[in-house]
Amino acid sequence: MLRKKSGSIAAVILVMITLAAFGFSNTYSPDKAYKDIPTPLVKDSIASVKAFEKVYTVLMSPRCVNCHPIGDIPLQGDDSHIHKMFPKRGADGKGLYAMKCANCHQLENTTGPHAPPGAPNWHLPPANMKMVFQGKSAHDLAKQLVDLKQNGNKNMKQLLEHADDQLVLAGWKPAQGHSMPPMSHSEFKKAWTAWIKNGAYAPAK
C-alpha cells in the first residue's frame, strides 16, 4: 500500500517537473533565439549598437511609430497626432465594430490628399502585446524588440524576416502628403540585419 502511494507521489512529481520544463521553455532564451539565425552569429557590441542607432531613427519615424502608439488609438500624419475619429485597437489590433482598420484602409493607398494609406492586413499590434514604440528610448526599444514576451513571440530568425513584412514595407510607400522614413528600405534592412547578427545589443541609453 505504502509502496503504491510512494509510486503515485513520484509520478506526480515527475509530471510536475515535466510541466515546469515545458513552461520554462517558453520563456526568453537568447541562446535558443540566436540558434535560429541561418548564418553564424558574430557578436560585436559596437557594430550592433551602431547599426541600431540607424534602425532607431526609422522605427521612431511617423511611418512606424504611428501604428505603435502608447495608447489604444493609432496616430496619424507626419506630426503623429491622434487618429481622427478615434478608432480603437480592439483585442486583435484590427479595430472595433464599425471602426475596423480595413473598413477605410484598403489593400493599397487610396489616391488623393487626406485619403487613407493602405496595405494588406492593416492593423495595430494586439491588445495583449502592444509593442509600443512611441516614447521609447533606443535602449528600451532594443530590449523590447528581442524580448519574446514583447515582440510578438518572434525569435531572431523571424525578427530578421520581419524587415520584409508587408506592413513594414508599406512604410516606404507612404500615402500622398506623408514623408518617407529617413533612409531607404535596403539601408534599413542592412542596419536591421547588422544589429541582429552582431548580437542585437541595446544602446546604453
Binding site: 464599425a98 473598413n103 488623393g112
Partner: protein
C-alpha cells in the same frame, strides 16, 4: 466585366475594376440610399457592408468587392424593419437625414457583435460617422432602443 452581389442579387457590371463601389451602387445599380459625403473615408455617409463589415464604399474599389456579399441600406432588412430602422422611426432620429443610411449600417455591425452596448461601445463604433445636424443624442438613444428590440426578439425566438 465586374460581377457584384448586392443585397443577394447578382449583377454583371461593365465598369472599370478601380471604380469606387459607391459609384457602382449609385450610378450603375441606382441604389441611391447610400450617400456620397467626403470621398476620402472621413465621414461615414457611404458605409455599406462587405461580407458583414462596415466598409466605406467611397474608397473601396469594386475589385475588392468582387466575390463578396455587399449589403446596402436597401437590403438591410426585408421590410425596412431591422431593429435599428424601427428605433430610428420610433423617435424620429434624422433631421436632414443625409448621413443616416451610413449611421444605421455602422450601428448594425455594432448590434451584431454586441447586443447590449454601453454608451462607450456606441462611441467606439460610431465615432467615424459624422452628422452635421448634430443628431448624436438621438442616434445614441435609438441604438439603445434597437438593442432592446433585438434582445426581446431573440428571447421570443
Amino acid at each position: 466585366m465586374i460581377k457584384l452581389n448586392v443585397n443577394n442579387k447578382s449583377h454583371d457590371c461593365d465598369i472599370s475594376s478601380d471604380m469606387p463601389l459607391l459609384w457602382a451602387l449609385r450610378d450603375i445599380l441606382q441604389l441611391t440610399g447610400t450617400k456620397y459625403g467626403c470621398g476620402v473615408a472621413q465621414c461615414g455617409a457611404c458605409v455599406v457592408h462587405l461580407d458583414g463589415e462596415a466598409v466605406r464604399s467611397c474608397v473601396t474599389k469594386v475589385s475588392r468587392a468582387q466575390g463578396k456579399k455587399i449589403t446596402t441600406i436597401e437590403g438591410l432588412s426585408l421590410n425596412n424593419d431591422h431593429p435599428l430602422q424601427q428605433a430610428w422611426q420610433n423617435i424620429d432620429v434624422p433631421q436632414c437625414g443625409y448621413c443616416h443610411s451610413g449611421q444605421i449600417m455602422s450601428a448594425a455591425v455594432l448590434l451584431r457583435e454586441n447586443n447590449n452596448p454601453t454608451d462607450q461601445d456606441i462611441d467606439n463604433a460610431m465615432a467615424g460617422n459624422i452628422c452635421r445636424c448634430g443628431t448624436y443624442p438621438r442616434i445614441r438613444k435609438a441604438i439603445h432602443i434597437a438593442a432592446e428590440i433585438q434582445r426581446k426578439s431573440a428571447e421570443k425566438s
